[in-house]
């Protein structure tokens, strides 16, 4: 624009108001003290967020997305103990595909993915249901809420390893619950799921739910507190029963909380490697494996890095296939 103005110097608008020009010059002469430093400062202010974010941005690009690409690359090589960089085709995927259908006797991969289905479904469902239920109970303006809330929330502060070891002892028929009840005289009591190849995965669900449901409760409680009391009152005036109130008004209003809780639980479920290891050390005959256990075993213990990478890629794709459509459908409805 400045160039454009310069091209028409004879324009009368430029000749006439001398005073304005003079003013401008004055401003300019006063300028050198303040203006450039102001620019530096404002530039710095503009840049500051970028500077602060740059390291974490770079780290994320390299260590998350870079290594995702690297893992995909490795899954098409014949890497064994160490990464090898010659692409040799999709043999790792072929093996996994074949193992997917070997159900009798179950291949380790088949066990891992069926366990993931059972564990993921039950863990997310029970945590959501239990969390919501506890939150609704706690929301009834009861006395001692300040004491109860941290009690339910506390398990989340423990690491999976601690949870796993504690539940391992508790569920062990020779040490924990069964033994105690036997000593108390209930000798017919029998609970050996943790030693049973068909039920061991459910003990992982129990321990996982114990740990996470309190946290989900806190999320729902925050959501409940955020609901406008006027709406509730209006519904009550309209004659809604408590059940209807929750069913038709409160729970639909909690939808964003469901979204957050689902995402938190889904990623916890996918990465609960340590829980399985601490609780069951893999279960009888490897019957408690999850895909993450499979991936670690093959990459680091069996020196089959290509197969391990391929299983990691499949885990990522499965997770993407579930989370992305869900996120899309949830976020599209409320464009803000």
């Amino acid at each position: 624009m400045r160039l454009c103005a310069g091209q028409f110097p004879t324009n009368r608008y430029w000749d006439e108001p001398m005073s304005t020009v003079a003013e401008t010059t004055i401003k300019l002469t006063r300028g050198p003290d303040t203006r450039p430093s102001a620019t530096v400062r404002s530039r710095l202010q503009d840049l500051l967020p970028k500077i602060v974010l740059a390291p974490s941005f770079a780290a994320t690009i390299v260590f998350v997305y870079g290594f995702i690409l690297w893992t995909i690359y490795l899954s098409f090589t014949n890497s064994k103990t160490f990464p090898s960089y010659d692409i040799t085709g999709a043999r790792a995927y072929q093996r996994l595909w074949r193992w997917t259908f070997e159900s009798d006797p179950p291949s380790s991969w088949y066990t891992s993915i069926t366990n993931m289905g059972i564990f993921g479904f039950l863990y997310i469902l029970i945590c959501l249901a239990l969390g919501l239920f506890l939150a609704i109970l706690l929301d009834q303006k009861i006395r001692g809420e300040g004491v109860l809330r941290p009690i339910y929330l506390y398990p989340m502060a423990l690491s999976f390893i601690v949870t796993g070891v504690a539940w391992k002892w508790f569920l062990d028929p020779g040490l924990g619950l069964e033994q105690t009840l036997h000593q108390w005289g209930w000798t017919s009591f029998h609970f050996d799921w943790i030693k049973n190849k068909d039920f061991v995965i459910y003990t992982v669900v129990i321990a996982g739910v114990w740990q996470a449901s309190g946290f989900i409760m806190a999320m729902f409680l925050a959501g409940l507190r955020g609901i406008d009391g006027e709406i509730m009152k209006a519904a009550q005036i309209d004659g809604a029963s408590t059940f209807q109130l929750y069913r038709r008004i409160v729970i639909p209003l909690l939808r964003p909380v469901f979204l957050s809780a689902f995402i938190v639980l889904a990623h916890l479920a996918i990465k609960s490697y340590d829980l399985v290891v601490a609780l069951t050390s893999g279960g009888p005959g490897g019957s408690a494996w999850l895909p993450s256990n499979f991936m670690y075993e093959f990459t680091f213990k069996r020196n089959e890095m290509a197969v391990g990478s391929a299983s990691a890629v499949i885990m990522l794709m499965t997770l993407t296939a579930i989370i992305v459509p869900y996120l899309y459908s949830e976020l599209r409805e409320k464009p803000r």
Binding site: L47, K50, I51, A54, P55, F57, A58, K80, T81, F82, R95, P105, P106, S108, D172, P173, G174, D192, I194, K195, K197, T280, S281, G282, G283, P284, G285, G286, S287, E297, F300, K301, R302, N303, E304
Partner: protein, 417 residues
């Protein structure tokens, strides 16, 4: 902006690395011998090296255990930051040697006469392409029975010489109301026991063919099926709560007299010692019935990395000290294993140790010293783990018959090769 940041980071890292260069009088060692007895045994080596002026520096490993250490080692080696040496097992040494990161100790080996004193079967793992790349620390053998003597006397048992004797002995214990067989239901323990069962059922020739040469015909054979049937027979003598139990808890059952016998490698002896038990009076060690004369071994090795020249002297000192007769004796007395060279006097060892040394010598001379498949000395890790999978699935019932087990075993091993 981003680029400057990256360059800065790269520079800082390279400074950090170059600042490392001058540590000559130091041995950097990656190992997972941290428990009481093992750490005490390793102290002998630290003192030997201190006498020669070398400081000892443990490479820290978070989480303990061999797996975590191997993961840490892989990361260090990938970064080009080699430790002086690392505790390693079997095929791992060869993997790293094939990747070209191991050092060369051939000169030291010649000077110290390792070629003659270290059993040939061990040299398969410590020598790669004609070069010594690792110093074996000990030889464990897995075909042992550990028996509580008080229980044995109570039921009036005698040393079982055949598999049928063994079953009869277990029956006696069962009748007396003792848990006959202490087993930890983790795949490596089950597979370790199965190593002995195969050797007992098929004999040395068969063991070598099936478990070291991975010969398809042998793996599919009726002898193998019989081995699985024998394993199934043994599993009927364990307590219902065995699944997932750690090996040392199973040993504790024998020590306390809750159980009669455990089939386990000679590291179990360390547990008996820690409980102040003496062989012969408190506990008995027999070879697994039908395997006398053969030794199924595994061995801890110190893999020696290709360190820069200024650190080589420390490495040679470490290797020499490791295979010195005094250390081999002192260490293995504590550890429960036997020396990795056959010319170490057995005077300091207990009865079981003396038998172990004699057996090793005999097996070495007679060609009946075999690598344990379960312990990663029979085949590379991929195969060994596939084998452990099959055995464990058989023990826990995912695989139901010995026919199916044999088919699965062949398939799994083919897959992993």
């Amino acid at each position: 902006m981003l680029r400057k940041l990256l360059i800065g980071t790269a520079l800082a890292t390279s400074f950090a690395f170059s600042a490392h260069a001058a540590d000559v009088k130091e041995v950097q060692m990656l190992h997972w011998w941290t428990s009481g007895g093992e750490a005490a045994a390793l102290n002998v080596l630290k003192q030997d090296l201190a006498k020669e002026g070398y400081a000892w520096k443990d490479v820290p490993v978070a989480g303990g255990g061999g797996d975590a250490a191997m993961t840490a080692l892989k990361a260090m080696v990938a970064a080009g930051n080699y430790p002086t040496a690392s505790q390693m097992l079997g095929y791992t040494v060869l993997d790293y040697a094939a990747a070209g990161v191991m050092g060369d100790l051939t000169e030291t080996a010649k000077k110290e006469g390792w070629d003659k004193s270290v059993p040939a079967a061990l040299q398969k793992f410590s020598v790669y392409d004609g070069k010594w790349v690792a110093a074996p620390v000990n030889v464990h053998s897995v075909n042992w029975l550990w028996i509580n003597k008080a229980v044995m006397d109570k039921i009036g048992g005698t040393e079982p010489k055949t598999f049928d004797d063994f079953v009869a002995l277990l029956d006696k214990a069962k009748a007396a109301g003792v848990i006959p067989l202490a087993l930890g239901g983790q795949n490596w323990q089950e597979a370790t026991m199965f190593d002995s069962v195969v050797l007992s059922t098929g004999g040395p020739e068969f063991y070598k063919k099936a478990m070291n040469d991975l010969d398809d015909e042998s793996l599919k054979s009726d002898t193998m099926k019989k081995s699985f049937d024998n394993l199934a027979k043994l599993v009927t003598y364990v307590d219902p709560n065995f699944s997932g139990r750690d090996w040392n808890l199973a040993t504790a059952m024998v020590i306390k007299g809750d159980a009669l016998v455990q089939v386990m490698g000679d590291w179990a002896k360390g547990e008996f010692h820690a409980a102040n038990k003496t062989p012969g009076t408190d506990f008995l060690c027999y070879r697994f019935p039908g395997t006398d004369g053969s030794v199924v071994y595994n061995s801890d090795m110190f893999g020696m990395f290709n360190v820069p020249d200024d650190r080589k002297a420390a490495q040679v000192a470490l290797a020499t000290a490791t295979l010195s007769k005094s250390f081999q004796s002192a260490f293995n007395v504590v550890k429960g294993s036997v020396p990795a060279r056959t010319d170490v006097p057995d005077t300091d060892f207990d009865a079981c140790g003396k038998k172990g040394i004699a057996d090793l010598k005999k097996a070495n001379e007679g060609g009946t010293l075999f690598g344990s498949l379960a312990q990663g000395y029979g085949a590379p890790p991929a195969v060994a783990n596939a084998y452990k999978d099959v055995v464990s699935k058989f023990v826990h019932g995912q695989i139901k018959t010995s026919d199916e087990a044999v088919t699965e075993l062949v398939k799994a091993i083919d897959d992993a090769k």
